[in-house]
Subunit: 372 residues, 2 copies
């Protein structure tokens, strides 16, 4: 689920300024269509509410772990000097708060829970980066690349503990139900990452569409769903509404994943994301690729042949074309639209007033907006 965090160029956070060895490129603040502007406002408001709680939790860590966490969240440079901060777009905490508001609760009561969800997300980023050997996140070297594997793993462990601690110490009547959901979600996130790392080692032709869909739901959908469900719990919603909000977040998360996978092959129509073809060069078993391989078409056989060996220069167009001819692109785009429609249906079940649903809708559109 690192993908949502890599779109820093569209980040509502101000550009990272100030000198420092890990300074990223200067980012240009973008202004999109009205729904993007609304989402940006929702995200900024969430970041403002949740950051003090998040920061207090991180500051409570013993010094060596605190240092890694402050770096990871962008609040410090690698040398320990303060940084302007670029802790990602706060989509998950914003979903918690927007869900609470949508179901008639008070946003302020759910701030601690929102911080807990964000801590879980960042714990998984720290660990995933170690396992995936990813060297860059949010335009800076990853924590393990700066501090070593052990410090990154241990800081991730500590962030998970802080997340559970926030909920355990929260007197809100929904806190223990939220804690159960969050713990279950962590198990699902771990299972999703396990499936992902295991697939990396497998022959692409042996991977079924069901498997890769289940993996995407566990890695990407589960925490978005959990964030929405926890928000609903903090509004005192009944079980049916909590489950509807969970389903809304899951489906929106899957819609995002389909769009992100399309961008990973054919590039971002807004030219702000990863370069076209990156997933093909890395031989990633993304959703369109697995769908194409499973299509039983001549193009599938051609694609399988290409994927059998590492990427060779100049093959990009041919590979992308094979995925497209095998139906992978159309399928992914239809799936994205279907998932988004399903998300909206789930939301409408729980929140019938369109005005109340507005915050959640703008966030769902925001995470999938690159399709527009």
């Amino acid at each position: 689920m690192g993908e949502l965090m890599t779109e820093t160029q569209q980040s509502p956070s101000p550009a990272v300024e100030g000198p420092g060895p890990d300074r990223g490129p200067v980012l240009v603040r973008q202004h999109g269509p009205p729904e993007t502007q609304e989402a940006t406002a929702v995200l900024e408001r969430a970041r403002t509410s949740v950051d003090p709680e998040l920061r207090r939790a991180v500051e409570s860590l013993p010094a060596p772990l605190r240092r890694v966490a402050l770096y990871h969240f962008g609040w410090e440079h690698a040398d320990g000097t303060p940084a302007a901060g670029n802790a990602g777009k706060a989509i998950r905490p914003a979903l918690v708060l927007a869900a609470t508001a949508a179901l008639g609760g008070h946003r302020a009561t759910a701030v601690r829970a929102a911080a807990a969800v964000e801590l879980v997300h960042n714990f998984t980023l720290l660990h995933d980066d170690v396992m995936d050997r990813d060297t860059t996140r949010r335009h800076r070297p990853t924590a393990w690349a700066v501090f070593g594997d052990a410090d990154a793993v241990l800081t991730g462990d500590a962030l998970q503990a802080l997340a559970h601690r926030l909920l355990a110490g929260d007197p809100h009547p929904a806190a223990s139900a939220a804690a159960v959901r969050l713990a279950d979600c962590v198990v699902e996130l771990c299972a999703g990452q396990q499936a992902d790392t295991a697939m990396e080692r497998r022959d692409p032709g042996d991977i079924t569409l069901d498997e890769v869909l289940a993996m995407a739901e566990a890695k990407t959908g589960a925490l978005l769903g959990c964030a929405c469900a926890i928000g609903a719990l903090y509004a005192g919603a009944d079980d049916a509404d909590v489950e509807a909000l969970d389903a809304f977040g899951r489906e929106a998360g899957l819609a995002f994943q389909f769009i992100d996978d399309v961008i990973g092959i054919w590039g971002d129509p807004r030219s702000t994301g990863k370069p076209a073809g990156a997933d093909l060069v890395a031989r990633k078993k993304s959703l369109p690729v697995v769908a194409a391989l499973a299509s039983g078409t001549p193009a599938a056989a051609e694609l399988a042949e290409l994927y059998r060996v590492p990427y060779r220069d100049g093959e990009l167009e041919r590979t992308a074309d094979a995925v497209e001819r095998a139906g992978g692109r159309d399928w992914a785009q239809i799936q994205a639209a279907d998932r988004m429609a399903a998300a909206l249906d789930h939301l409408a079940r729980a929140v019938s007033d369109p005005e109340a649903a507005e915050g959640l809708l703008s966030l769902a559109e925001f995470v999938t907006r690159r399709s527009g």
Copy 2:
């Protein structure tokens, strides 16, 4: 805190029988002095109470993580066939239950909390083994050695989540206070392991006694203290008694660590533990070594000279002798006795009836018994 688990030859669990690629050596059940027999009974009773809860939690994991966890706990062989089980001695869950009983509570009410403590312990073992590249635990290959780093890290993450989930779903009135303590303890365990891994890379002469004591308390004392404190919470004990029980467990844990470190140099008087000198060969900065190096004696300088380079055959006696002449052995033995005395003082503050304290006392004697 792997050390408590390596004494499998004195384990109260039956020897691992049955064929399997990961079968350890056949273990001989030992019968010690009366207090050991009592502790053995306390441990067996705890294992019997807690195992079903622990197993239920592990069985709830998705298949790929469950498989790693079942292997780690000794309930399955690496090939997935059932194993007789050798999940360690259950000292921490036994401390939880004994503390509950000592403070007038019902053991049965604290079984879930005891399982949560054991899950946290095992999460840290899985992660520590990855970081320390330890290849053997409980006479079998470690989980990462069998399943790879990613699976071991992710299963550890999931066990931490399961621990918090058990407490979040526990209707007992002490559950949320216990959850706060357990989460705080996880942060302390992570800080202890961080300090340990960081010390490995440092010059032994730069490490202070305070640092190595703080590390031992965080790595070894914290979870034993937390187990006792949680047990007290489940008995409805007041704050003073909860803190006294925490201090009891911490001091007993430190007493254990001093004794274990003495054994790591001069061997186990009962010849059941690790071979004499193992810690010196590995150039471990154990408590007696750091104390010796800090002594300012001629023997300290000699020891520093020896530790400056990797171990060379035949140096064992000379190195152990230098630690002893520098006062490291005497200091550690006095410290162990002092810590044990402090532990008993803390216990007496909270539990004045010697009969009620008996279970906790026998466990404290058990973990430090190798001094006898």
